[in-house]
């Protein structure tokens, strides 16, 4: 069960090239205009995909002990917590307007 996974060179190159393709895709997506909120969702979706590939295969969380993956997921949860609840305040502020 020890975490000494050795991935083959071919596999690493495959992961690397998939990341290059995704990078090109990220830039390509911006050439034609995607309306409204969808452009942000697509951009972040591609970035999350690239991040997952790097974390799972380059940082070999795929073959590692579950606890390390849980640590990574915990940090993402608490990051989303910080943003989510802060936006709860910043997006719903109703400031009074003086009449004179």
């Amino acid at each position: 069960m020890s975490g000494h996974h050795i991935s083959s060179a071919k596999f690493l190159w495959a992961v690397g090239s998939s990341l290059f393709v995704l990078t090109f895709l990220t830039v390509a997506v911006t050439w034609f205009h995607i309306p409204g909120p969808w452009n942000i969702i697509v951009a972040i979706g591609i970035a999350v995909a690239k991040a997952m590939i790097v974390v799972a295969f380059f940082m070999n969380l795929w073959w590692d002990s579950k606890f390390n993956s849980m640590l990574f997921v915990m940090s993402i949860i608490f990051f989303l917590l910080l943003i989510g609840i802060t936006l709860l305040d910043t997006l719903y502020r109703v400031d009074p307007v003086p009449s004179f």
Binding site: S65, S75, F78, L81, L82, L88, D89, T90, Y92
Partner: protein, 579 residues
């Protein structure tokens, strides 16, 4: 939690190892000379070095508090100027929180006790442990430089835009706190890995002492919250150096956003300060009631529950700060949720004392004082959580009294209980019970004299951080100042008899309290490698119905096991084999 336990049942040949009652060779005299102390990687010595430095900072913070209270004797100027007063209350807050409360139990007592309670030889990364002590020292040096080159008068919260504009030395102070944060992070990293990876054979998750659960929850908070303080303080430093406008209204920034970032760390930080105290109290109450803890999993999981819910409630510091009503409502609701696990702990401790055999030694006395004072702190916390009442009570002396009841009534009492409980284990010497009980009484009286009137003053509308106040509050302030002197005397008595016990204390055996916890199954002071043998755990930490012999088992063939004792086979799951 994630480690699979089922498959690796292993048969171990074990033998009983009676601890040596008066060891000649132990960690204190294993190596001689100052250099051996400064470059030690022994977690026990690092724990003592932390203990010494936080005691020094507690003294400095305490003196500053007495100066504040003396100044408040008269409504106008008593003996110092407004600026000096503002700097002193800022330093009192910053020193007490960053240099005493945050590192006190996790770094000082925790460093000393955690490996002993896990049956490990040392923490997972001893050099990192020493590095975090020196990072703490460097942070302290930067802060002292800040104090002597202009001081800081922004309050320990450094709210912008005032902290970005004031001419005092905020930059050096923020640098000091930025460095200090890493000491807290690295201690958290060390403890999490040690608890996961270095438990003695047989020490599964359901046999872990509750002190370890508390330190585990604290380390999780330290690791998840302190980085946000680091980025907040870095942004504040950049605000002053490059004028980036993130928090500066003139350049389009929003000061309330600073408060969000600051309190995202600072509320979990108050749980970093109090949760280890819960761990100490669980140990002390169970040992001195000589009874199995009531609701082991309830207490263990409530520590984790506090750790996680503690991250959702920071907005209750900002109810009046121009926050949206929706956010205030959500924060108020979640604040009440975090109160429930704390309540559960108090009731579980009471249930542990029920039908126990309570030995009223000093640690138990402090534990009972903790229960009383922390309950008051908890109820006033519920009061401040209710939105409409908080509008009236926010930033008044009611809040000052609340957090002193929780921090001083809770954390300092738990810290004193821990100090007196583990003192024989640290130095092999006993303190004088007589003087300790007197000091506890004085501190209890002095504490209540100081802070009870502040509840009344605060409810009547006395704002906090006030150098001048209206005459109506003078009698309360004078009574409170008298109380603070009594409190100061109490702490001096503690310092006196503890130092006396170091020099001429009578010999304390390896287990003066008759506890079943693992740290009492080795000699005191402990040998350099904690145990002469590799301990094997078969019972839970609070199984007082089991004979003491079953708690002193070690692997038979461990090379330096020079005691002869009957050999017996025991089935146990070994922690090391697990992933």
């Amino acid at each position: 939690m994630a480690t699979a336990e089922a498959s690796n049942i292993k048969r171990l040949q074990v033998k009983r190892f009676k601890p040596d009652e008066s060891p000649k060779e132990h960690y204190l005299n294993a190596e001689k000379g100052l250099w051996s102390w400064l470059t030690t990687v022994d977690h026990k010595r690092i724990g003592l070095m932390y203990l010494g430095s936080i005691a020094l900072f507690f003294l400095i913070g305490g003196i500053l508090a007495l100066v504040l209270r003396t100044e408040l004797l008269t409504p106008t100027r008593s003996f110092i100027e407004a600026d000096t007063y503002n700097q002193i209350f800022t330093l009192h807050g910053a020193i007490m929180i960053f240099f005493f409360l945050v590192p006190s139990v996790p770094a000082a007592l925790g460093n000393f006790i955690l490996p002993l309670q896990l049956g490990a030889k040392d923490v997972a990364f001893p050099r990192l442990n020493l590095a975090s002590f020196y990072i703490y020292t460097i942070g302290a040096i930067f802060t002292l430089i800040a104090i002597f080159t202009g001081g800081i008068d922004t309050g320990w919260t450094f709210y912008t835009p005032y902290s970005a504009e004031t001419s005092t030395n905020v930059m050096m102070m923020t640098l000091g706190i930025f460095i200090l944060g890493f000491s807290s992070i690295l201690t958290g990293v060390n403890f999490i890995v040690t608890i996961h990876k270095m438990r003695a054979p047989g020490l599964t998750w359901n046999k872990l002492p509750l002190n370890i659960w508390a330190l585990y929850a604290t380390s999780i908070i330290q690791v998840l919250a302190t980085p946000v303080l680091a980025i907040t303080v870095l942004l504040l430093a950049m605000e002053r150096a490059l004028g980036i406008g993130i928090f500066d209204p003139a350049l389009g920034g929003d000061p309330v956003l600073y408060q969000h970032f600051f309190w995202f760390y600072s509320h979990p930080a108050v749980y970093i300060m109090i949760v280890p105290g819960f761990g100490v109290i669980s140990e002390v109450i169970s040992t001195f009631s000589r009874k199995t803890i009531f609701g082991y999993w309830a207490i263990a999981l409530s520590s984790l529950a506090i750790a996680f819910i503690g991250f959702l409630v920071w907005g209750h510091h900002m109810f009046t700060a121009g926050q949206s009503s929706l956010a205030s409502m959500v924060f108020s609701f979640l604040t009440f949720l975090v109160g429930i696990p704390t309540g559960i702990k108090i009731f579980n401790w009471l249930a542990t004392m029920y039908k126990g055999s309570i030995d009223m030694k000093t640690p138990m006395l402090y534990a009972m004082v903790f229960l009383f004072l922390f309950t008051i702190g908890g109820f006033t916390g519920i009061m401040l959580g209710a939105l409409v009442v908080d509008i009236h009570l926010h930033d008044t002396y009611y809040v000052v009294a609340h957090f002193h009841y929780v921090m001083m009534g809770g954390m300092v009492m738990a810290f004193l209980a821990g100090i007196h409980y583990w003192w024989p284990k640290m130095f092999g010497k006993m303190y004088s019970e007589f003087w300790a009980k007197i000091a506890c009484g004085i501190i209890f009286v002095g504490f209540n004299m100081t802070f009870l009137p502040q509840f009344i003053m605060g409810a009547q509308g006395m704002p906090r951080r006030y150098y001048n106040y209206i005459d109506q509050f003078q009698p309360f302030h004078q009574f409170s100042t008298m109380g603070s002197y009594v409190l100061g005397v109490g702490f001096l008595i503690i310092a006196a008899y503890l130092i006396h016990s170091l020099l001429r204390g009578k010999e304390a055996g390896s287990n003066p309290w008759g506890s079943r916890a693992l740290e009492w199954q080795t000699s005191s002071p402990a040998p350099h490698h904690n145990f002469e043998h590799t301990p094997v755990i078969i019972n839970g930490p609070y199984d007082y119905h089991k004979p003491m012999a079953e708690f002193q088992l070690g692997i038979a063939h461990s090379h330096n096991g020079h005691h002869e004792g009957e050999k017996v086979d025991v089935e146990t799951t070994t922690a090391q084999e697990k992933a």
